[in-house]
C-alpha cells in the first residue's frame, strides 16, 4: 500500500537551516546537509529545502548546496525559493534536485508551470500555495511569505495549477503555520477531494495526533513540518511508529 509521507522542511538562508515562526522571527538551526542526512536516516520519506535568501550571490550558494545534498542524501528531495524562469529550474535539476517548487513566481506568471511541466515533466513540478483564511470556504492566496494578498483564491488556483501541469500541491495555511494547533484539515480535505494530484499539507504540526488527523480528516498524501523536527519536539521515528499503530499506512 502507498505510504503516507512525512516530510521535514528546511528553510535555508545563506547556506544555513533556519526556522521562523510565521515566517518572521528567524532562528538558525544547523547545516542543511547534515540535518537532511540525519532526517533521512531517521525515516523521513522526502525532504524539502526552501531557499529564503533573496540575493543573487545567495542563489549560487544554494545551487552548490543542492549538489552537496544530492551527493549525500539517498531519498527524494524538493528545492524551492526564487525559481522564476526555466533556467533556474534547469540549474537545480542539473545540480541533482528531484523536484522543484514554485510559489510567488507562479502566481505572478502562471504560464511558468506549463513551461516547467513541458520541459521537465509534471513529476518535477510542485506548486506551493500559501493561503490565508477569510471566511467559510474562502482562502486568499498570498505571496512573499504570506505578506502580500493576491486576487487568487486557494481552490481555483490549486485546480489551475493541476491543469497547467503541476505534479503536486504543497498547501501552507498561513493561519496555522507556526501555531502548532494542527493542520488546516477542512481545506486540505476539500483540496484532496477536488484534485487528482497528491496534496502535501503544511503549517500547524505541533503534536503527533496532528499528523494522524491530517492523513484521516485532512486526506493529505504527505505531511510537512519544520520546527517540531528541528527543535526535536517530535522524533521522526517515534512519529512513524505512532502513525503505524494508528493504522495509517507508513514506511517504517
Amino acid at each position: 500500500m502507498l505510504a503516507k509521507r512525512i516530510i521535514p522542511c528546511l528553510d535555508i538562508k545563506n547556506g544555513q537551516t533556519v526556522k521562523g515562526v510565521k515566517f518572521v522571527e528567524i532562528k538558525e538551526v544547523g547545516d542543511p546537509v547534515e540535518l537532511g542526512a540525519l532526517y533521512a536516516e531517521q525515516g523521513a520519506d522526502e525532504l524539502v529545502f526552501l531557499d529564503i535568501t533573496a540575493s543573487h550571490e545567495g542563489r549560487k550558494t544554494f545551487v552548490d548546496l543542492v549538489k552537496r545534498i544530492a551527493r549525500n542524501i539517498n531519498i527524494p528531495f524538493t528545492v524551492g525559493g526564487g525559481i522564476s524562469e526555466l533556467g533556474d529550474a534547469d540549474a537545480l535539476l542539473n545540480a541533482g534536485a528531484d523536484k522543484i517548487s514554485v510559489n510567488s513566481s507562479a502566481v505572478r506568471n502562471p504560464q511558468l508551470i506549463n513551461e516547467l511541466a513541458q520541459n521537465f515533466g509534471s513529476q518535477f513540478v510542485v506548486a506551493a500555495i500559501d493561503a490565508k483564511h477569510q471566511q467559510g470556504d474562502d482562502w486568499v492566496v498570498t505571496v512573499n511569505g504570506g505578506r502580500i494578498p493576491t486576487d487568487k483564491r486557494l481552490f481555483s488556483w490549486a485546480r489551475e495549477c493541476e491543469e497547467r501541469g503541476a505534479g503536486e500541491i504543497l498547501f501552507t495555511s498561513m493561519d496555522h503555520d507556526g501555531v502548532k494547533q494542527g493542520f488546516a484539515n477542512k481545506a486540505l480535505a476539500k483540496l484532496s477531494d477536488s484534485l487528482n494530484i497528491p496534496i502535501i499539507a503544511s503549517g500547524g504540526a505541533g503534536k503527533m495526533e496532528h499528523f494522524k488527523d491530517v492523513f484521516t480528516i485532512g486526506k493529505a498524501d504527505a505531511g510537512l513540518a519544520a520546527s517540531i523536527f528541528h527543535f526535536k519536539e517530535i522524533g521522526i521515528r517515534e512519529l512513524k511508529k505512532y502513525l503505524n499503530n494508528e493504522q495509517i499506512p507508513i514506511r517504517l
Binding site: M1, E28, V29, G30, D31, V33, N74, D98, R251
Partner: protein, 221 residues
C-alpha cells in the same frame, strides 16, 4: 542547536558495501533526467561509473545501467536516432533498467503509442483511476510503496515487503518476467527480469538503504 558534530561532506552508507572491486560500470547517457542521481547513488556505495553514449564503452562494461525519467516516445526516437536501441538489446552483461528505462525495455508503451526495445514481451499501460474513487487515489503513483513476491538474484529474501520510491503514471502488468510485485490500483510488475536484463519501475537510487541494497545486489551479479 547541536544537531550533529560531524562536518564531513560524505556520509557513509549503511549497506556495508565498500569499493572493493574494479568492475567497469557504465550509465547510458541519453536525454533523460535522473542520470546524476544514479551516479550519486553509486558513488555513495563506493563505485565510480562512467556516464557515456559511446557504444564501444557500453559493450565493454561489466555492468550497464539504463536509467530514465522522461517521455517514452521522444526517448525511443532518440535511442533509434543514435543507434543505442540496437546496442542495448544486444548486450550480454547484466543490464539494469530503471523507471522509464524499464518501460522502454518492454515491447510497446501507451505513452506516445510507441514500439520499444522488446526485451520483455510486455506492454506498458497508463494507470486508470477507479470509477468511484472513494480512497482518493492519485495519478501519478508517487511515493513509497512495498515490493512483494520478490525473486532472486536482484532481490534477496530480506527485501520482501520493503518500501521503495516510485514516480510513474504508466505500469507493466504481471507476467512471466515479473521479479517483484507492487499493488497500486492493481497488482503490477515493479521489477522484471529475463536472462541478463533486470529492471525496476521504482528508483533504487532514491529508495534509501533498501535501494542501496538492491543496487549492491545488482553490482554483485
Amino acid at each position: 542547536m547541536n544537531i550533529s558534530s560531524k562536518n564531513s561532506d560524505t556520509f557513509s552508507s549503511d549497506s556495508g558495501l565498500r569499493a572493493s572491486d574494479s568492475q567497469k560500470i557504465v550509465i547510458i547517457k541519453y536525454n533523460a533526467g535522473n542520470i546524476r542521481s544514479v551516479n550519486n547513488a553509486l558513488l555513495r556505495l563506493g563505485y565510480e561509473a562512467e556516464i557515456t553514449a559511446d557504444p564501444a564503452l557500453i559493450q565493454q562494461a561489466d555492468k550497464v545501467i539504463f536509467p530514465g525519467v522522461g517521455e517514452a516516445s521522444t526517448t525511443m526516437a532518440y535511442l533509434r536516432k543514435t543507434g543505442l536501441n540496437k546496442v542495448i538489446v544486444n548486450l550480454k552483461q547484466p543490464v539494469l533498467g530503471i523507471c522509464l528505462g524499464m518501460q522502454l525495455m518492454c515491447s510497446h508503451s501507451e505513452e506516445g503509442h510507441v514500439d520499444c526495445l522488446n526485451i520483455f514481451d510486455e506492454k506498458v499501460r497508463k494507470f486508470q483511476l477507479p470509477e468511484s474513487n472513494m480512497e482518493n487515489i492519485k495519478i501519478p503513483h508517487m511515493g513509497w510503496n512495498q515490493i512483494t513476491d520478490v525473486k532472486t538474484p536482484l532481490f534477496d529474501a530480506s527485501l520482501e515487503g520493503e518500501y521503495v520510491y516510485f514516480v510513474h503514471s504508466y505500469y507493466v502488468a504481471l507476467g512471466e518476467d515479473t521479479a517483484a510485485t507492487t499493488n497500486y490500483i492493481l497488482p503490477y510488475s515493479s521489477a522484471l527480469q529475463k536472462d541478463n536484463f533486470y529492471a525496476t519501475q521504482f528508483h533504487p537510487e532514491k529508495s534509501g538503504s533498501v535501494g542501496e541494497r538492491i543496487l549492491a545486489n545488482f553490482l554483485r551479479l
